[in-house]
């Protein structure tokens, strides 16, 4: 009986943790994608800084349940954005990589048939 109750508690905790993780990652990535959408219309140093600071505030938590390769790709694209602020072609290319990576991270946390299979 004790093992059964412990198992129920563990299962509930894991379920709660997973749901919290999904909601947190979904919310943070959506906020980042909103900024990216604005940046697609034209590069801006202020928005790029905002994007970077928002990413850094949630990066550690997201990396707990995300593959390191995805985190590194997003991080690299984020750093390149600052570097290519005055070169629109390269800036847009790095922004596209960042958007694609963020969408991939979001999809891997979301509950859908595609993410399951």
């Amino acid at each position: 009986m004790r093992a059964f109750v412990i198992s129920l508690i563990i299962l509930s905790a894991v379920l709660a943790l997973t749901v919290c993780d999904c909601v947190y990652v979904d919310g943070r990535i959506d906020a980042l994608l909103d900024i990216c959408e604005k940046l697609e219309r034209g590069s801006s140093a202020m928005l790029t800084d905002e994007l970077k600071s928002k990413w850094q505030s949630c990066r550690d938590v997201i990396s707990l349940t995300t593959r390191q390769t995805d985190i590194e790709r997003a991080e690299s694209a984020m750093l390149s954005l600052e570097h290519y602020l005055d070169v629109p072609t390269d800036y847009n290319a790095q922004l596209a990589i960042l958007v694609s990576t963020l969408k991939h991270i979001k999809a891997s946390h979301a509950l859908s048939l595609i993410s399951i299979f």
Binding site: M1, A3, F4, I6, S7, L8, I10, L11, A13, V14, L17, T18, S63, L64, T65, T66, R67, Q68, T69
Partner: protein
């Protein structure tokens, strides 16, 4: 490298805890659901240890879920026996009252050579000696010989025998097991008296056992020769 070291320790502790919670059966005879869980556990545990790109949560969360499901299912199956065949299957009676059940043998896909081999492992040389042979859910064959072929019991021979129970190891290599001593309802003072009765000191004892009837067994440590 330090990350991998810490990961190994964490995953090892997690697996030990998981196996302990699953119970002793997991270590020896595996039921179908337990076998599946064990195979999955080893795979899940190995991945984040060897691949530092994978978050540890990718092992911890599935292991926790598997452990919980395994315990919840085994508890539910114990409470609702009708569910047991669904998770663990049913035992198959291959020989019933000395007659081979060919349908059942065909259904479990066991060859006659395999059946004979299993009977020999169970100490049966002739299939005609078998009353029942049952293939259990864990894959082991239980063999019940015909009464006439079985060795006579004390009851068959109308003999009165006492039940000694098991021998509890009270002292192993000069170390006293207070747990076993307490289970037998004795204490260290009693033990000292018994050792004095046997004319030995604690340092001389290699093994001292007491069975449930109170019969004692003593093996002294070999004398050290330089």
């Amino acid at each position: 490298m330090l990350t991998i070291l810490i990961r190994i320790i964490l995953v090892y502790a997690l697996l030990i805890g998981t196996m302990r919670l699953m119970g002793k059966r997991q270590i020896g005879e595996l039921q179908l659901s337990e076998l599946v869980t064990t195979i999955l556990l080893s795979e899940l545990a190995a991945q984040p240890i060897t691949d530092d790109q994978t978050p540890l949560a990718f092992a911890i969360i599935p292991i926790a879920v598997l452990l919980s499901l395994e315990v919840i299912i085994s508890f539910t199956v114990t409470k609702i026996p009708a569910l047991k065949p669904l998770f663990d299957g049913k035992p198959s009676v291959l020989i019933r009252r000395g007659r081979l059940d060919f349908d059942e043998i065909g259904r479990v896909r066991i060859s006659m050579e395999e059946l004979l081999c299993q009977l020999r492992i169970n100490g049966i040389s002739d299939i005609n000696q078998v009353d029942y042979a049952i293939l259990e859910q864990n894959g082991q064959l239980s063999v019940i010989p015909k009464r006439a072929e079985a060795p006579p019991s004390a009851e068959d021979m109308s003999l009165k025998v006492s039940e000694p129970g098991i021998a509890h190891a009270i002292i192993v290599d000069t170390k006293i097991s207070d747990y076993d001593l307490k289970r037998l309802g004795h204490d260290r003072r009693w033990l000292e008296k018994r050792l004095a009765h046997h004319r030995v000191s604690l340092d001389e004892v290699f093994l001292f056992t007491v069975d449930d009837c109170g019969r004692e067994g003593l093996i002294k440590k070999p004398c050290a020769h330089s």
